[in-house]
Symmetry: D2
Subunit: 304 residues, 4 copies
């Protein structure tokens, strides 16, 4: 398929709505991002990369990091992680405390904040250095040495992150956090602050379209079954309380972040990353979601 031509076509069609919606404004570092940015990259399992727009500019991947932390924890602990976090869509906003209270401190899934915080806690218990090892892991997945934390964002999140501080304390009150709450928050906010380009991000998701191994390498990240399972979780839980609509309109397993990025995959075929900082009401990139919808509509690609 002529992905270059396709990407140009999508970019052209998407232009009128770039900038529609609202940039995340809860911390200055995100509020100040140029709302007119747009980048989109496709990486095929055969190892070819296609891209258009601002594809070499770093942006804050935010919740997309939850896929990497889950993958790392899952590859180390296996099914055991499900004793501490569920696998069901939450039906609520990403930072809600309500369900958590009804369900005694077991988050619905690893892609809402509470669930990702529990995964962070698991990683802290497992790893010698949860800061460095996650960066190295993403460097391996993306094939890029140039993956870093944005300390300014991490710091800013920490100073304003009272909802997440509420979540981690509440989880601790239900004994579902084993480490110190300040430590957990610091590691969690660092993971969220990672910056990547769409080129790096699409490459880093290839293992999920390639049954768990990095294409053109002998590195297996997950078993085939585990990779499918992460994809299933992304489909049912990857885009907050818009997962149903995303599956309906886009038809790809994917994960979004409030920085305006979305990464998604078609098994056996490709991974794709898109970035446009302005968000719709559910907190997903407005133009990014539409760009992915155009991708599946134009190609007929879809898991369904």
């Amino acid at each position: 398929m002529q992905y270059n031509k396709l990407l140009e076509e999508i970019f052209r069609e998407i232009k009128p709505i770039i900038g529609q919606g609202k940039v995340a404004d809860y911390i200055p570092a995100l509020a100040n991002v140029d709302p007119r940015k747009f980048g989109m990259s496709i990486s095929t399992v055969k190892g070819i990369n296609f891209s258009t727009g601002d594809v070499d500019e770093k942006f804050s991947i935010q919740s997309i990091s939850k896929v990497f932390t889950l993958t790392l924890a899952f590859s180390k602990l296996g099914e055991e992680i499900w004793s501490r976090v569920g696998r069901e869509p939450s039906g609520n906003a990403f930072n809600s405390l309500i369900q958590l209270e009804y369900e005694q401190g077991i988050p619905r899934n690893p892609f809402i904040n509470a669930g990702a915080i529990v995964i962070t806690d698991i990683l802290i218990s497992l790893l010698d250095d949860p800061y460095t090892e996650l960066l190295d892991y993403i460097r391996l997945l993306s094939g890029s040495k140039n993956i870093r934390y944005d300390e300014k964002v991490a710091q800013s999140e920490r100073e304003n992150g009272f909802t997440n501080a509420a979540l981690v304390n509440f989880l601790k009150s239900h004994d579902n956090i084993k480490n110190d709450v300040e430590k957990v928050l610091d590691v969690y906010f660092h993971h969220c602050s990672i910056t990547m380009t769409t080129n790096e991000l699409s490459k880093s998701f290839l293992y999920l379209s390639n049954h768990g191994s990095i294409p053109n390498s002998d590195h297996r990240v997950l078993t085939k079954s585990q990779a499918k399972r992460i994809n299933a979780l992304m489909l049912t839980c990857g885009t907050y309380d818009e997962a149903g609509d995303f599956a309906y309109l886009v038809g790809m397993p994917g994960k979004s972040g409030v920085g305006g990025g979305i990464a998604a995959i078609i098994p056996n075929e490709l991974s794709v990353a898109v970035w446009s900082p302005t968000l719709n009401k559910k907190g997903n990139s407005l133009a990014g979601t539409k760009a992915l919808e155009l991708l599946t509509t134009k190609t007929g690609l879809s898991i369904f």
Copy 2:
């Protein structure tokens, strides 16, 4: 693929857990079903049928009928139906009133009871005879003339259906029911009472694995895009508040009913129906779910 051999293998492995769980007991007609029944049928898009167990015995399809009513309403009204029902997983039990109250009478999706009741109301407004026309529709899809309502079940549901009566009255109080509440309930309970065999059921789902048209016929039920969209809805919402687990473990779009049936599909490949009356805690067939998990594990088939 040697589906005959595969089905025998699954049947053999599943035998120890057949009868585990609980038969639905809210009406006598369901409570009296033999808990040891098991049937499984596979229909390929090439038109071949494979089956094992009690595959010619009629059982109550119950909520699986929600796929047929949605398909019929969707084919007639298109995207307009989404003004009255959502497309998101509910995160609650299938008959919950809570979300409905918070969200002012718009059911989360067409596969929870409240959503299916709204779809029934839409069909009553659209069709001359909502009783006969749905039967004829399923006869067309399944290629079997022998599809009927179980009047005893419909009657029994009506006499005990106070939760559904609460739902329809609540929806009416929010002006999301246009017809008479008694009429809506009667049509709804009739749809739920339809009986089918697994052979009939697997054939009747083939249009969803075949991009919207019935294989080996020139009959198109839905557009390709619409068929994908129904599949997406089944994946995120088709198995009540167990949809996440079902996607994770089975990896197929599917729909279950409290009669113990489940129908599911792999696009371009096959549809499958399984029946085992005893249910797990979330209300899905216990052995049926496991049989489908074995199917995707053994074949490597999965949408992910």
Copy 3:
């Protein structure tokens, strides 16, 4: 105390806000009431009556009838009624289904709709003729023969009462309704449709300020302890989810209705009824609440 002068003073001060708020408009019979009406009557335990404004005009007492039905059921069954309804403030709107679902069909208290419907069901089981006997009971309490149902209101409620139909069906699904749902609704809507004047209403509440017996008669309605308990329930649950504010600002046990009436009492001293059809956001008479607040502020009367 010079209650005549006091009532004139209150009337004068309240005039500017009469008509503020909104008349209940869910049925035409209530929507068409003149929003400028205002009446207020005080009855002392010594048997003297004072009044000002439209005090001989009948209005729909609506939920104030819940005090009479509770009193009648309580006098007949005693503490046994609490196995089917609670005694706690609901913290939610008067017609909410949410708490009912979480608490498996046991309404929080007898003054929200669900609780009063259960009390109606109890009365139907206890009484030969629940229509006539309640009227006779209120005639006895008020000393007025002229207490009747407004059939037009009862009929109109029935035709529009889908929320209450949802409640009664939901209660029935939890086995907390023993009689036919249509019968329960009809009796309940009739009780709500009773019309009274403020003069009649204030007299009919005297037994609650007089420790359970009707003053200047030898008729005991409740034991002293039971009368106190009904007063306690009115204080914590009598004005929907505004009970806290009503206790804080007014300081009297009382019960309101969407017809714009409020009846309240000071033990050993007096009962008072006020009517002004326009309601505040919580569904209580706006001017009526203010008039009662002026009453306790000006007299220093208060249970606190």
Copy 4:
């Protein structure tokens, strides 16, 4: 009235149930209290004190301190405090986060934890030294110099207080906490750790039975109207989600704490404090509640 004789009678009758229920065990300092302790003190507005049992033993007043902090804040800020906390019963457990999320960080009332934390935050902004000034205030109210914090309890609460840490962070995320979260928690936990005897506690509540001024002194704590309003709040919100039952059975405005203490009042007449460490399921002293019920039953005293 012969309160000495009455107290002996109550003590005798209550003995069989002393020790029933469960001592609060979330921190060691409370878990180790002797479950057989019982003390009860009555102080009349005329200045006489009556008592029975372990009335000179200090216990942790815990949430009863919420009455003192509210009184202090109310006397300084007046009705302005209601912009940051409501006046309605919560209908939920004392430490629930659910309602807080639905109502955007405005706690239902000042007697649930979230509300008291907001009051603490107000005091920190108002007072030079919120630690010393509250102690001095209670010393004034009780006429006892010997009122102190239990630093061990305060420390232990802090180390285990993850639910309250969740609450304060959540309130801060809604901008309803103005000071540093750690500071707020420290002051809050200190207030909860105050120890008093039932003799001290009953005396310290006399201003609430005496219309806002300390009997036999010229010290006015609150206006008459303000004192009534605190009493109204205690009645509707003072005993967690058991306030309705407490009003129904006991009929006095009162406030309980998980240390097993309850303080309550009859306007114009008396205040009473009771202590028995074992709690019922709603978190109120089991024998203490019963003792107060006996008090009002035997004397006929009741606000209703």
